[in-house]
């Protein structure tokens, strides 16, 4: 009787361990499957013309993604310009002025909800406040949508990283007569620099491949454009439209663009990880 209980418990334990190992294997398997697919099709679709020519019209056998690459860089640049100040100041308010007050915790709560917002909802939101009133799609609205997606990430990491900075440093600066804003910009921001940069990089990685919000905002443009007040080509929407097209060269370009996107995102994640390793956690 006792032996059978022992055997049963042992069997359950071994079976559960095997199942959990298998679950992990499944996850890792899909990761490598997706990466391998992107690598294989992406390298097959590589072509020098991708970087020097614009997206070709349908039915031709040319290659080119220059307008999309430039458009995506402009979109990301403008969203950084909008999102970083807002996220940084928002996080700073939470950590330096709000502390653990009721209001600050409410803002943290809302920020956590925004952190997991489906990107399509943000796209609709920016469509409603910018595209519909302006009457046409614009790269600027795309950047705003991406910034809205990025801000909660920056707010959260900034808040957490500033909270890690010891109060002794702040007190030392205050004792020297520094006003609050000098203490924050010259002492706490500097001490938390690595962590804040990590947050910005993770935010950037998150918005790099975002497609859904851009369908409602920046849309696409067949031609080269630097005008942020009108529709602009960008890599994710080009991938979406080209992948579902019947033209072989367009599909190849979609894969090449996907490959470059994934390399960019993985590189950002790796750099972010490296920065995170440099964060000094106080004892």
């Amino acid at each position: 009787m006792i032996v059978s209980v022992y055997v049963r418990r042992r069997c359950v334990d071994v079976a559960s361990k095997i199942l959990m190992g298998l679950a992990t294997l499944v996850g890792v398997f899909f990761l490598f499957w997706i990466l391998w697919t992107t690598l294989r099709f992406g390298i097959a679709g590589m072509h020098w013309d991708l970087f020097i020519k614009d997206t070709p019209p349908p039915g031709t056998d040319q290659f080119g993604l220059r307008n999309a690459f430039v458009g995506s860089l402009i979109l990301l640049g403008v969203s950084l310009a909008i999102g970083v100040p807002v996220g940084l100041m928002g996080g700073t308010w939470l950590a330096e002025y709000g502390f653990k007050s009721r209001t600050a915790n409410a803002v943290r709560f809302i920020n956590d909800i925004m952190l997991s917002a489906p990107s399509i909802e943000i796209g609709l939101f920016v469509y409603a406040i910018m595209v519909a009133p302006m009457g046409h799609f614009s790269a600027l609205s795309g950047s705003v949508a991406l910034a809205v997606l990025m801000v909660p990430i920056i707010v959260r990491t900034t808040d957490e990283m500033l909270s890690l900075v010891g109060s002794d440093m702040r007190e030392a600066a205050v004792a020297l007569g520094a006003p609050a804003w000098v203490v924050i910009t010259k002492v706490t921001w500097r001490a938390a620099r690595a962590g804040i940069v990590t947050g910005i990089l993770i935010g950037l990685a998150r918005i790099t491949g975002e497609t859904a919000p851009l369908l409602f905002t920046a849309l696409n443009n067949q031609f080269f454009s630097r005008d942020v007040f009108h529709a602009m080509a960008n890599v994710p929407v080009v991938i979406y439209q080209f992948a579902l097209s019947p033209y072989t060269n367009w599909q190849q370009m979609a894969w090449a663009a996907a490959f470059i996107t994934i390399i960019f995102v993985l590189a950002l994640s790796l750099i972010a990880r490296w920065f995170l390793g440099r964060v000094q956690v106080p004892k």
Partner: protein, 333 residues
């Protein structure tokens, strides 16, 4: 009361040099910095409310035309006759997410326990990193992979599903259909892979919160690894684990690109999971740029409003549940 201090600034504007008077009124850098921070915090918190209000405002036309209940239960989606109903999209969204949860939750739990409890130290870090990389892959690449690689591969095993699962009386109806590779089931599987890293990383994080004294006492009593995971760690972290599952559900419900590629985009509802369908996000992605009339666009935004009502509730519960454990941890420390 020092009356002279109060009186001085009032006299200054009358003096010969208005510039110096203006300077004394200039706010300090400290004041400006504080206000900038407050403003940013208001923007951060206001974005959530602004999203709901703006989307609700833009769906007014459709709400007036179809009402609330009429829109929810109508299956008629016809841009030609300008009649719109949300029913098939709501059901498809719920079903594809349900498939993702049924497949994704046990696997995420397994991954989390494996990384937190079972894996030897040398394998822990690379596996945890690999699972987190899965979260870094943009959803459009999941879609592309799902359409070009996974769907054709899945189509080859669909006849088997037809023959075996489709033959079961009752639920067999769910698994009958042409082996196309794309459809609700494919969308659910791709969603499950996508939400796996989110759920498992939250579960793993909260498993680490469990005090080691609890864990060690259980092991000292002779409990097996499985018994510690199931009877000690899971009950202790239950609320946060449910929160993590809700977070995954919120992602699945709102996921757009991956689903749009593999679900087949059919506006009619069918009983079989192997048949194509269309979720709220996928119909938005597909039809928004083609929508020409005001009513059409407004109806699509109305769909977005329904989606936001559902995901917001789910996300609210998720954050609330995850935070509960955080306060427990604070109380223990």
């Amino acid at each position: 009361m020092s009356g002279s201090d109060v009186a001085l600034p009032k006299i200054q504007p009358l003096s010969e040099e208005p510039k110096s008077a203006g300077r004394s009124w200039r706010p300090s850098a400290d004041f400006l910095f504080h206000k900038a921070a407050v403003f940013a915090a208001i923007l951060v918190a206001g974005a959530l409310f602004a999203t709901v209000v703006a989307i609700a405002a833009d769906s007014r036309t459709a709400i007036h035309a179809f009402g609330i209940w009429g829109f929810l239960k109508s299956s008629d989606w016809n841009p030609v006759t300008q009649t719109f109903g949300a029913f098939p999209f709501i059901i498809s969204t719920l079903i594809s997410s349900a498939i993702a949860m049924i497949l994704g939750v046990p696997v995420s739990f397994g991954v989390a326990v494996f990384i937190a409890e079972i894996a030897p130290a040398w394998i822990k870090k690379p596996v945890a990193n690999a699972i987190e990389l899965l979260a870094a892959i943009p959803s459009i690449i999941y879609g592309l992979w799902g359409l070009v690689v996974f769907a054709p591969a899945f189509a080859t095993i669909e006849p088997w599903i037809n023959d075996h699962l489709g033959a079961i009386p009752g639920i067999g109806l769910l698994f009958q259909g042409p082996p196309m590779g794309i459809g609700m089931l494919t969308a659910g599987i791709v969603l499950a892979i996508m939400i796996l890293p989110y759920m498992s990383s939250i579960m793993r994080d909260v498993f680490l919160v469990v005090p080691s004294s609890l864990r060690e006492s259980a092991y000292a009593m002779g409990a097996t690894t499985w018994e510690v995971a199931w009877n000690i760690i899971l009950p202790y972290t239950r609320t946060a684990v449910v929160g993590g599952i809700f977070l995954g559900l919120g992602r699945a419900l709102g996921e757009t690109m991956a689903v749009t590629f593999v679900i087949g985009n059919s506006n009619t509802l069918s009983a079989s999971l192997l048949m194509p369908g269309a979720t709220i996000p996928s119909v938005l992605a597909n039809e928004f740029t083609e929508a020409t009339t005001k009513l059409y666009i407004s109806s699509l935004i109305y769909l977005g409003l329904i989606l936001i009502a559902v995901t917001l509730t789910v996300r609210f519960c998720a954050v609330l549940l995850i935070r509960r454990l955080g306060s427990k941890e604070g109380a223990a420390a």
